[in-house]
C-alpha cells in the first residue's frame, strides 16, 4: 500500500480526502481547531485573517447547496478569496477532462480546491496531479467519502456527548450509497466509539460492511435500543425506481424515524441528519423538529469545521 496521499512527509494533513487512515491526533486537532472557530462565528466581525490572499476554488461537479455554501462562508470567514465553479453545467459538458479543468484553474493560482464529484476517488486523482503548494479538500466523492460532513458529525456528537468512549451510535438507512455513513463510521471507530450500528434492509447494505467495524441490524427498533446518537441518512428518490426498495411508504414503515421508534433509544439521545431531509420518507417531522433533533446546529458547526480543515491544510 502506498503512503497515505493525504499526508505530507511529516505526517501532516496536506489534503483532506477521507477520514479513513487519518490518525486520531489529526481528527482531534481538527475538532479542537473547529471549537476555537465556533466563537468567531458568534462575533460581530466574523472574520479571521488566516487565509488572507489565498484563493479557494469550489469545484462542484455535482450540484450541492448546503455543502458549497458552508465551504464558501468558511473560506470567507478565513478572509480567502472564493471562486465558485459549477462544473456540472460548464466544462464537463464541453468535454474537457477533469485533469485539464484542474490544470487550468491551477494556472489561475489556486491554493485550495474544494472538490465534489460523482465518481468515487476523483479527489484522489486530482490530489495526485496538483502542485505541491496546492491543497485538495474532498467535499463528497461518489459513495466513497464526505470527510468534512463526517467531521462535523463528530463535532456535533462531541459537543453534545463530550466523550466517545461510551457511546452507541446508530446510522440508519441507505448505507450502500452513502459517503456520509462511510466517513462517519471511520471517524467514530478512530475516536474509540465502542458500538457503531448500521440499520437498513439488505438491499441498502454494502458487501462486507461489518469489516468497517460496525454491527448490522435489519430491525430498526433492535438497532436503536439504548442508542445515544441516531444518524438518519438521506434516501434519494431514484433508489425507489429500481429493485432496491418497493416504495417510500414501505421504507418509512420499516426504517422511518418516528417518536415511537425513537422511544427505545436513550432518553437523552440526539438525532442527526446530513440533509437535505425527506420528511415522511426517512424521518417524521415530529422528530426532525423535536427536542432530540440537532439537525440545524449541525449546519452551523459545519462552518467552523470547514474553517478548521482549510486553515490546517493551508498551514501545512
Amino acid at each position: 500500500m502506498p503512503r497515505n496521499p493525504q499526508l505530507n512527509e511529516n505526517g501532516e494533513l496536506q489534503h483532506l480526502l477521507s477520514i479513513e487512515g487519518l490518525p486520531r491526533e489529526i481528527l482531534t486537532q481538527i475538532l479542537d481547531t473547529a471549537e476555537s472557530f465556533a466563537g468567531v462565528t458568534e462575533r460581530e466581525v466574523k472574520k479571521v485573517p488566516l487565509l488572507r490572499g489565498k484563493s479557494v476554488f469550489n469545484l462542484f461537479f455535482e450540484p450541492s447547496t448546503r455543502t458549497r455554501t458552508t465551504f464558501e462562508i468558511a473560506a470567507k470567514r478565513l478572509s480567502a478569496d472564493v471562486i465558485n465553479l459549477n462544473i456540472a453545467v460548464s466544462s464537463a459538458t464541453k468535454g474537457e477532462s477533469l485533469l485539464d479543468t484542474v490544470a487550468n484553474l491551477s494556472a489561475m493560482q489556486a491554493d485550495i480546491f474544494v472538490v465534489r464529484h460523482a465518481s468515487s476517488g476523483a479527489p484522489f486523482l486530482i490530489a495526485r496531479h496538483v502542485k505541491p503548494h496546492e491543497h485538495v479538500v474532498n467535499a463528497g466523492d461518489g459513495r466513497h467519502a464526505h470527510p468534512t460532513q463526517g467531521l462535523l458529525d463528530l463535532f456535533t456528537i462531541r459537543h453534545y456527548k463530550k466523550d466517545f468512549s461510551k457511546l452507541t451510535v446508530a446510522i440508519v438507512g441507505d448505507v450502500l450509497h452513502s459517503r456520509v455513513a462511510r466517513s462517519l463510521i471511520h471517524g467514530l471507530t478512530t475516536l474509540g466509539a465502542p458500538e457503531v450500528r448500521v440499520i437498513g434492509p439488505q438491499t441498502l447494505m454494502p458487501a462486507g460492511v461489518e469489516a468497517l467495524g460496525v454491527k448490522v441490524f435489519h430491525d430498526m427498533k433492535a438497532g436503536l435500543r439504548d442508542a445515544d446518537v441516531v444518524v438518519m441518512l438521506r434516501l434519494q428518490n431514484e433508489r425507489m425506481r429500481g429493485a432496491l426498495l418497493p416504495s417510500a411508504q414501505e421504507f418509512f414503515k420499516h426504517y422511518g424515524l418516528t417518536l415511537d421508534k425513537l422511544a427505545v433509544a436513550r432518553r437523552d439521545a440526539i438525532v442527526m441528519h446530513p440533509g437535505p431531509m425527506n420528511r415522511g420518507v426517512e424521518i417524521d417531522s415530529n422528530v426532525a423538529d423535536g427536542p432530540h433533533s440537532v439537525i440545524l446546529p449541525q449546519v452551523t458547526f459545519g462552518i467552523a469545521v470547514r474553517m478548521a480543515v482549510m486553515s490546517i491544510v493551508a498551514g501545512n
Binding site: 468515487s120 476517488g121 476523483a122 484522489f124 486523482l125 459513495r143 458487501a207
Partner: protein, 419 residues
C-alpha cells in the same frame, strides 16, 4: 537458412526436457543436428524455450490506433518473447466480417514479427443478437469465436451459437459474467469496494454465468474455452466439469494470478480490470488452479490504454492493462513462488496454450515451427513507461523489479527481436 543456437539451457515444456545443449533450425523449423550452420547464436547462460503463446492480446487495430498500433504492439510482443498471439474481436469495427480478418492478418504478416491468430466475433457487432458467418470467418483465418468482453445476456442466442459452432467443430472462447449482476459494477463486491465506495460485481456473477455455460456445453457438446477466470468458485466448477469429461478448457489473466482487490490501494486505475481483481482467497485459488492444471494456461489479456483512458476516476477509467512484455516475468514469478520447475512453469505459456490454439508450435520437437524465445531468467527488469515497447504504459507493475528478460526472439527461424 541454417541456424544453430549453442550452449543454451534448452527447456521444452511439452516433453519436460531441461538440459544444456544446442537447438538447430533449418527452413523455419526445428531440425536434427547438422554440422555447418549459416548463423550461430551463443545462448550460454540463457534459457532457450519455445516462443510464448498468448491467448489474449489486443492490438487495437482497426479503430483504436490512438491507443496502440499493430506495429507498436507487435514490437511489444516479440520484446516479450511472444511468438504467437490470439487477438480478441473487440476492435472497431469488431472482427465480424471476413474482409476485416483478412486485412488484419495481412497487415500483421507484413510486419514479420509474431504470428497473429484472429478470434472472430461470435455475434454481429458483438451485440449478442445475430450469429456471424462463422464458416467464412474461419476460412479467412479465425481460429475461434468470442464475444471478447461484450456481454451475451440472451441465453437462447448463446445456446444457438454453441449448437452452430459445434456443428462445424468451431471452438468458442467465452468470458463468463452475468450481465445483469455485473451491471455498472467496477470492482469485486467485497470489503475493498465497500471502503472505496465502488459499485461491486459479486463473484456469483461469474459462477452463475459459468453454470449456465456448462449446462449448455452439456447439451450441445460444443468445444468451449472459458476465458479469464477470476473467482475461487469458478475454479472449482471447472475442476468438476473437466472431471465429468466436458470438452472445456480455461485460462486466467496473469494479473489475476498476482494481484487482488487490496491492490486497488487508493483508486489505482491501472488495477481496473475486466474481470475485476477479486479477493485474496480467489487469487490463491487461481494460483493453485494453474499449478494443478485445472486452469490450462495463463494469458496476458494485453490491453493497451492511453493516458486519457486511465487518468480518470476509477469507475470511469477504461478497463485493462498492458501485458505482453510482462507475461514472461510474471509467469516466472508465479512459477518460482509455486516451487515449480522451469519446464512446468513455461508450459503455461507454451505447450498449454498451443493445445488450445491447435498449433504445432509451443514445443521443440523436430519439425515444429522454429518459434523460439531466448531469455535470461535472472536478469531483472525495472518496469517503466520508458522500457515498455507497448504504446500502452498502463500496468499496476510500473516501478516493480521483475526477473526474466528476453534476449532474442525467433519466429519461423528468423530473428525478429534482439536486445
Amino acid at each position: 537458412m541454417k541456424l544453430q543456437i549453442k550452449n543454451g539451457r534448452v527447456v521444452d515444456p511439452a516433453s519436460g526436457k531441461d538440459a544444456v545443449g544446442d537447438v538447430f533450425v533449418a527452413d523455419g523449423k526445428i531440425a536434427e543436428s547438422f554440422s555447418k550452420a549459416d548463423k550461430t547464436i551463443d545462448a550460454k547462460g540463457l534459457v532457450v524455450s519455445p516462443g510464448f503463446i498468448d491467448l489474449s492480446a489486443r492490438l487495437r487495430e482497426p479503430g483504436f490506433e490512438y491507443k496502440a498500433t499493430l506495429e507498436s504492439e507487435m514490437n511489444a510482443a516479440v520484446a516479450g518473447g511472444v511468438t504467437s498471439l490470439a487477438c480478441p474481436p473487440d476492435t472497431d469495427p469488431p472482427l465480424d466480417e471476413p474482409g476485416l480478418v483478412d486485412m488484419l492478418r495481412r497487415r500483421a504478416k507484413s510486419l514479420e514479427r509474431a504470428r497473429v491468430y484472429p478470434i472472430g466475433a461470435l455475434t454481429v457487432k458483438l451485440e449478442g443478437n445475430a450469429l456471424t458467418e462463422m464458416g467464412q470467418l474461419a476460412d479467412a483465418g479465425c481460429v475461434a469465436f468470442s464475444q471478447a468482453n461484450a456481454p451475451l445476456p440472451d441465453t437462447q442466442v448463446l445456446w444457438r451459437a454453441l449448437q452452430y459452432a459445434a456443428t462445424f467443430g468451431f471452438s468458442t472462447w467465452l468470458r463468463v459474467e452475468d450481465a445483469w449482476l455485473a451491471k455498472s459494477g467496477v470492482a469485486h463486491d467485497g470489503e475493498v469496494a465497500t471502503r472505496l465506495g465502488l459499485p461491486g460485481i459479486p463473484s456469483f456473477a461469474e459462477t452463475i454465468a459459468l453454470g449456465t455455460l456448462l449446462e449448455l456445453v452439456r447439451a450441445t457438446r460444443a468445444r468451449v474455452h472459458v476465458c479469464r477466470l477470476s473467482s475461487a468458485g469458478a475454479v472449482e466448477m471447472m475442476r468438476a466439469a473437466k472431471k465429468e469429461g466436458l470438452p472445456v478448457t480455461c485460462d486466467v489473466g496473469i494479473h489475476h494470478v498476482h494481484l487482488c482487490d487490496m491492490d486497488l490501494g487508493y483508486f489505482d486505475s491501472n488495477c481496473r480490470l475486466d474481470p475485476p481483481l477479486r479477493g485474496q482467497r480467489d487469487r490463491d485459488a487461481l494460483v493453485q488452479g494453474l499449478v494443478g492444471g485445472v486452469i490450462d494456461c495463463v494469458c496476458s489479456d494485453h490491453t493497451p490504454v492511453d493516458d486519457d483512458g486511465k487518468h480518470l476516476p476509477f469507475a470511469e477509467a477504461e478497463a485493462g492493462a498492458t501485458g505482453l512484455e510482462l507475461l514472461l516475468p510474471l509467469t516466472l514469478k508465479w512459477g518460482a513462488a509455486s516451487k515449480l520447475n522451469l519446464a512446468a512453469t513455461l508450459a503455461r505459456i507454451t505447450s498449454g496454450p498451443a493445445r488450445i490454439l491447435g498449433t504445432a508450435s509451443g514445443k521443440l520437437t523436430v519439425g515444429a515451427p522454429a518459434d523460439l524465445a531466448i531469455f535470461d531468467p535472472q536478469a531483472s527488469n525495472r518496469i517503466s513507461a520508458e522500457t515498455l515497447k507497448s504504446q500502452g504504459k498502463n500496468t499496476p507493475f510500473v516501478g516493480h523489479e521483475l526477473q526474466g528478460r528476453v534476449r532474442t526472439t525467433i519466429v519461423a527461424g528468423n530473428v525478429v527481436y534482439e536486445a
